[in-house]
Each structure stands twice: as C-alpha cells, then as structure tokens.
Symmetry: C2
Subunit: 260 residues, 2 copies
C-alpha cells in the first residue's frame, strides 16, 4: 500500500528549465533523491538507509553466527578494531562519532536488514561507535569473508547506497531548515519501518528527542517544539515516543517548502 500510495500522492508537474537536470519529460516525483532501482517507493530511502541488504538480502542469511546486544550496550566502539561487519536481524541501533572535546553527533539509525560497521574497513578500525537503542540481535560477517565474490559484490552496493544516504544527510544538515529536517526525518523513518514489514504509519520512536536532534542538527527543544507544531497542524499525532503519520503529503510539502 504505502509504496504506490505515496508515489501517487506526490506526483507533481515537471519543473521547467533547470538546465542541469535530466531531460526526460516524465512527471516528477517528490523525493529528496530518486532511487532508480526501486522507484518512488524508495523516495526517502536516501535519507536513512543502506537499503542494500533489504533488497539483495544476502547478509541477513542464516549462515552467519548471531550476537545479542542489550539496550545501551555497544556493538563496537570508535577506535576499536574492525574485524567484522554486522547486519541487524532485529532491534535498533544508533551510530555516532565524537570530537576530542567531547562533542558528539549521531550519524545514523539502523534497523532490520541494515549493515553496520563499514566505516572500519578502510582503516581497520572504526571511526564511529554503534549502540543498541533496544535489545537487539545482529549477524556477524567476519572481515575475512568479505573477500568472497558474492559478498564483495553485495558490499559494493550496500556501501554505495550508504554513500548516497550520507549525501542526503549532508543536504539535510547543510540546506534544510528545522521543520524541513524533521519532516524529512519522519517521512524517511516511516518509510523504513513500513519496508521493514513492521508497522504502517504508526510506530514507536526508539530514540530520544536529543538523539533525533543530534542526527538532524537541532537542539532537543527545537525537535520537541516541532513535534508539537506538526501535531497542531494535523500532520502527525505524537505522544512521547508514539508517532502516527496522519498526512504524508502535508509533511512532504513542509519538507519541500510547498505552501498550501
């Protein structure tokens, strides 16, 4: 449902004359970035996914040993040796980086089917740390096995998609305003929850306002205020960690500065 519905709801007329864009005269879909492989349903992917595993689904196979990680425990730490990657089987993680002076930033949230730890491949040790936001389980992918042709091909795609996500986050942090950032964040999260097969447009946030704020570059107070405003405007229903998206196209309009 969500896929085609979202796609349909967001169809708009093509924009005239932006020289450096594609020239195909097709109706344009409102997305932060188009996902050619998966079309409009993937519209918001770019903002929060390494959607590779989900689509290609090899990492999550039963051939790997699993590991349980309890809430608030770390899967790996910044500076720690990277001897394997991890595919999230169930649960929820955040990853974050930290400055010398103690300032830190959440760089991603990760759920079922997504791959963690790829920042450690290049140097052999992790730049970020990954922490479980609820009791979780991961598949361990030993670094040694990353040389296997099948896995290598998979990994190439997953990492590439992760790069696309990173670009979208840069765009969000560098260009969007506060309300646009939260709208984009919520739409993306909703999208991913749906694809994870979990819920529809109603879900429980696994992270705090502060963690959301860190990820999208806002203070926790601003995030809280925006939740309230979105509720007043009828876009969502919130009570603490429970969120329900009431008006996807409204949120999309907020994200893209379309006044209605």
């Amino acid at each position: 449902m969500a896929a085609s519905q979202v796609a349909t709801a967001l169809l708009v007329a093509p924009q005239p004359g932006v020289a450096s864009r594609s020239e195909a005269p097709q109706p344009r879909v409102h997305t932060l970035f188009r996902c050619p492989t998966h079309g409009a349903s993937c519209s918001l992917h770019a903002l929060g996914l390494p959607c590779g595993a989900k689509h290609d689904g090899a990492f999550a196979g039963a051939e790997f040993t699993r590991k349980r990680v309890k809430r608030a425990e770390s899967l790996y730490r910044a500076g720690g040796i990277c001897d394997s990657l991890y595919a999230v089987c169930n649960g929820f993680f955040k990853s974050s980086v930290m400055l010398e002076d103690g300032r830190g930033q959440v760089t991603g949230f990760h759920m079922h089917g997504e791959v963690l730890g790829m920042d450690g491949i290049g140097t052999g040790s992790h730049a970020a740390e990954a922490i479980a936001l609820e009791d979780s389980e991961v598949s361990i992918i030993p670094a040694a096995r990353l040389q296997e042709p099948t896995l290598q091909r998979q990994l190439q795609k997953v990492m590439s998609r992760e790069l696309v996500r990173a670009q979208a986050v840069m765009m969000m942090l560098g260009t969007l305003r506060a309300e646009e950032r939260l709208a984009a964040f919520l739409l993306n999260l909703s999208q991913r929850f749906v694809e994870g097969g979990l819920s529809s447009n109603e879900f429980r946030l696994r992270m705090t306002r502060e963690e959301i704020g860190s990820y999208i570059g806002l203070s926790l107070e601003t995030v809280s205020r925006l939740f309230s405003r979105f509720q007043d405007d009828g876009h969502i229903a919130v009570r603490q960690k429970h969120v329900r998206i009431l008006d996807v196209s409204g949120l999309t309009a907020v994200m893209l500065r379309i006044d209605d």
Copy 2:
C-alpha cells in the same frame, strides 16, 4: 615536513575520563578523527578525502584510458547512468546534489588521486553530479572491471574511507559553529594539498566563497567575513583565492574551541 610538524605541534595531554573512548594511555593528537593507518599526518583526512587511492595507488595507474574535462564541464550528472568510476589525475572537481525545488549542496571537493562516482554503484545511476572547477584529467575505471579481485579490494577501502569522510562532514555540519567549520575546512584542504605534493601551506582556492559556503553549510557572506576575521587574527593571509596558512595550531585551536 608537514606531517611530523603538524603532529608535533598538536600534541596535547590526554583527556581524563571519557568512558566511551579508547583506553590506551597515549598522548592524544588533536584531530577530528584519527586515521589509524596513517597516524597523525592523516589527522584531517577524514574531513575531505577518500584517501584510498593516494595510499594504495592502483586506480591512478596508466592502465586506464584518460579523459579530459574542461572547467565548468560535468564529468557525470545526477540521474545519469553510472557505467564507470573516475580517478582524478590532475585538476579539481566538486560534486553536488540537488533537491526538486532547485536547492543544491556541494557534497565534496576532489583533487589528484581521489575517486569519483562511487555513489552510482548501488543503483546504477548517480545521485550527485561532478563538475570540474578547472581543466582536469581523469582515469576512467569501467564498471565491468570493478569485479576484478584487486580493484574490488581497493574499492572496498576507498569507499569505506569515503564513508568516514561523510561522517566527519556530518559532524561538521551538525555540531561545529561557523568559525570552527571554516577552520576545519582550511586545515583539511591544506593537508590534502600538501599530500598531493603540490604546495606547502600556500595554495589557490579552486572554488568560490559560495561553493565553500555550500559545502560547510554557511552563506557566502559568512565565509567571506570569516576569511577576513581569520586574517585579522593572524591565522591566515588571504587575497581573493590565494590563501596562506600562517598558524596551523591557531586554526586548530579555533576548530576545537581551545581558547588562547
């Protein structure tokens, strides 16, 4: 010279009790992110590099056909098919992404030895566009060849390092203040110019104030004002595009909020 000098200049006492950090009782180096493979000289890498090619140096080999790209021309466009990667032989590129509504953001600057186009591997088409900021030359790495074991291993590392860079940019955009961002940007750029074997602490910016601002999430006016302030403070000497870093540790102090 630069490597050890920078490393030495920036040595500081280890910080007490940050629980989630590494436990080794070594003196700490002032860096946004440590690069375990290349040590302190790589301190600022994370902010602007896919330093893979430079270190592993296989992509830049003469075995690939080359292509010239004139200033202001694009190497590839957003949405365009990704049938190859590109290693910069000489010249300078920017890559950027764009929103439906026309808002865009520079997501990276790329010079000698760095690899472009990896965002297209996952989906088969590019999310970003790459534009030459001066007459440049690249090696073309056909997508087909990315399955070769040697290249695949290289690519894994390069992409991973690019992910680390992306994390650093997120940190910069989400957490640092204006002056801290520009300081980080300048230090990183200087570092990369030095490593590219080009100049010492004096170089010519290839990009405009607007492009810098877009990359670090500031308006062009703010960038210009900060250049002036850094000059007044004796950290740099600027005249238009010519920049000379006079006080690396001063800039580093600005970046890390160390008051002196």
